[in-house]
């Protein structure tokens, strides 16, 4: 990656389709480039963190130095120089804003442009509460007071570390330990912000909660960390959206999401990932290395991951479910769309431990242009998991003849009562289907979008309604130029 330049070098936006590619001009507070123990100490100090957390970060960093970047995924990208990145960048603000009126108007207008309502009165009748993360820090969290009435905690993780240290200490790293993998370990050492959610016992969260991640600064890695705890008998639906400016060089994003679900509780986690995918020639774009995992610790607990992945130059992501509690349920619904030179290696892991646990995987991959896509999934049934059930369905759709699609299912079964089903199909949009649409007056681009949306329907219907509409639009935009 080249050295930082004085003026932001934005790709000409005229005629380009990525409408979130703008850069916000704002002064930022950064730490020096590179990664070492001093940098980590500085980040921790800037965030006024307790010693236990700094020590944890340092342990993670020492462990990371002995680790090697994984190469098993079917991805090709230039080697990342971890010393050539900024690990902390925060928009300069006088003091921590107490309410939205104190937030820099430049930031508010950025989120306005992105279509994210940060002014509560402007949002539709309290549909969604938002935590807005800008580069390394959370800039605003809405509806906190209203949620607090029911004992729900929704704030940035930095704030949670200060206000609710016991909860954070108890659960941070309990689902994804820093020893888990190379990128998770790096995140543990340098994570800067993210969202924190706690839903108390017996509470059904009355609105959708969401985090909106935005990478703005140049040559800056974003390492956010989200922690969600659903106490017994509780329920929450959580949404995550992401965008980044269009830049010539690649940007690194290595996040962690940890979810803890106790007895009879349920969490729905939906993602629409639209990081900048790079241009038509494959230049630029976000490297997206993410570890997402939910632990269903209590009986009858349930987690459902739904993801629509259209962005990023490189995606490495396997949202997983650890089904510890008896009768716990894990679901994974995924649509991944790659175009031009994008690459995605994505899937899930379903780890059956408790009795009568069940899991379901529905994965829809669409490859266009010169892109390459791999579904990689693990279904593991441990010896004590009596009567485990899994159903997996992986369908791939190819557009054109220069793209690739691969399915790599791993099954490890150590209990003879398990029932595991796997189905996989690969198809192309057929000339017959296109001709049928054209003959009825429908143009080719609309025809492809109809066929692709039909192909993903099973997954899209698991998204909250407004999100589903957005996701369908996004798929249409991402498909542009893939035919003809």
């Amino acid at each position: 990656m080249p050295d930082i330049q004085k003026t932001p070098n934005i790709i000409d936006e005229s005629g380009d389709k990525y409408k979130y590619g703008f850069v916000t001009e704002i002064a930022s507070d950064t730490v020096a480039k590179g990664l070492n123990e001093d940098i980590i100490k500085q980040i921790s100090q800037k965030k006024q963190e307790p010693d236990w957390l700094l020590n944890w970060r340092l342990q993670a960093f020492r462990f990371w130095q002995k680790m090697e970047e994984p190469t098993w995924a079917k991805l090709q990208y230039d080697k990342i120089d971890y010393q050539d990145l900024y690990y902390y960048s925060a928009p300069k603000q006088k003091a921590a804003p107490k309410n939205l009126d104190e937030v820099d108007p430049e930031l508010l207008s950025t989120y306005e442009k992105l279509g994210i309502p940060l002014k509560e009165q402007e949002a539709l009748a309290g549909i969604v509460a938002v935590d807005a993360v800008f580069d390394s820090v959370s800039v605003a969290t809405t509806y906190r007071a209203k949620l607090a009435e029911q004992g729900i905690i929704f704030c940035s993780i930095s704030e949670a570390i200060k206000q609710y240290p016991d909860l954070v200490k108890k659960y941070l790293g309990s689902v994804v330990p820093y020893t888990d993998n190379f990128f998770a370990c790096l995140n543990s050492a340098v994570f800067t912000d993210g969202s924190f959610v706690y839903i108390p016992k017996g509470i059904k969260c009355p609105m959708e909660l969401s985090t909106y991640f935005r990478i703005n600064a140049r040559n800056t890695g974003q390492f956010e960390r989200t922690l969600i705890i659903a106490d017994e008998e509780s329920y929450v639906s959580y949404l995550e959206g992401c965008t980044a400016p269009q830049r010539d060089e690649n940007q690194l994003h290595a996040a962690i999401v940890e979810i803890v679900i106790l007895k009879n509780a349920e969490v729905k986690y939906s993602t629409v990932q639209n990081w900048y995918p790079g241009d038509k020639e494959g230049k630029g774009g976000v490297y997206n290395f993410v570890t997402k995992r939910a632990a269903c610790r209590g009986e009858n607990s349930k987690v459902s991951w739904t993801q629509v992945e259209t962005g990023s130059a490189v995606t490495w992501k396997y949202p997983s479910c650890i089904l510890q509690g008896d009768n716990s349920v894990g679901e994974f619904y995924s649509v991944a769309l790659t175009n031009n030179y994008q690459q995605a290696d994505t899937g899930t892991k379903m780890i059956h431990i408790g009795k009568n646990t069940s899991s379901k995987i529905i994965s829809k991959g669409i490859s266009a242009g010169y892109s390459n896509q791999t579904y990689r999934g693990l279904v593991k049934v441990s010896p004590q998991a009596q009567n485990a059930r899994n159903y997996s369905q992986c369908d791939s759709l190819l557009i054109g003849n220069k793209c690739g699609s691969h399915t790599v299912p791993y099954i490890e079964n150590r209990n003879r009562t398990a029932r595991i089903e796997h189905e996989a199909t690969t198809s192309k949009i057929s000339e017959e289907q296109l001709f049928y649409c054209l003959q009825r007056g429908i143009d080719e681009e609309t025809a492809v979008s109809l066929i692709v949306n039909g192909f993903c329907k099973e997954v899209m219907q698991h998204l909250p309604l407004e999100f589903a509409i957005e996701a369908a639009k996004l798929i249409n935009i991402s498909l542009e130029g893939s035919v003809g």
Partner: protein
Amino acid sequence: MSKTPLLEIEDLCAKVADKEIIKGFNLTINEGEIHALMGPNGAGKSTLSYVLSGKQGYEVTSGKVLFKGKNLLKMSTEERAREGLFLIMQYPVEIPGVPVTTFLKHSVNAVRKHQNLPELDTMDFIKMVREEGKKLGISNDMLKRPINVGFSGGEKKRLETLQLSILKPTFAILDEADSGLDIDALKVVADGVNAEHNEHNAMLVITHYQRLLNYIVPDYVHVFADGHIVQSGGKELALELEKTGYAQFVKEK
């Protein structure tokens, strides 16, 4: 009163994968007429329907085709459809996950837009589709299903007929519309097609058998062999063919 020509085909030659299939085809169809095109397997009947509707891979090598006086061969596939050319397909294709109504709405509005008519709003559209569907024995439930997925042969053809009745084309080609139909389904489809026929539109009915022509009665019958018309006559020609077969028209090879 002289008749207005709707479709004029002159010396049409076309090939598929470098093989000449249509060889010097001539035919004029006027408004209000129903023409039947009969012929043996492999004569190029389906090829002709694809050439006229503009399917990819079907290349016109010479000749001309005028549709309402305009050069049809210059139009894209979707333009031909929007201008009012409709093909009832022999094997309508399945499109998983796309409900019939969604598909039809896109289709109807694309055609209306081309004709400078306002797009139909969802309520009006659904009402119209349900009414038309009812006439063809298409239930509201069937309209919600993905298009042609798991449909029986009869259901597929009824759906094709529904689209004909909604899009109201000026020129319809029925490509083996009777294949895969039992006699009851055949009647439903034929009634639907007949109901749409009037003095301003025309039809080309492509079939092997006389059977369909008992229900959709043609004004003219043409025998199609080896890429062109070898004999033309009135509807009685079809009956004659039923007795004698096509052997007399097929050249020794």
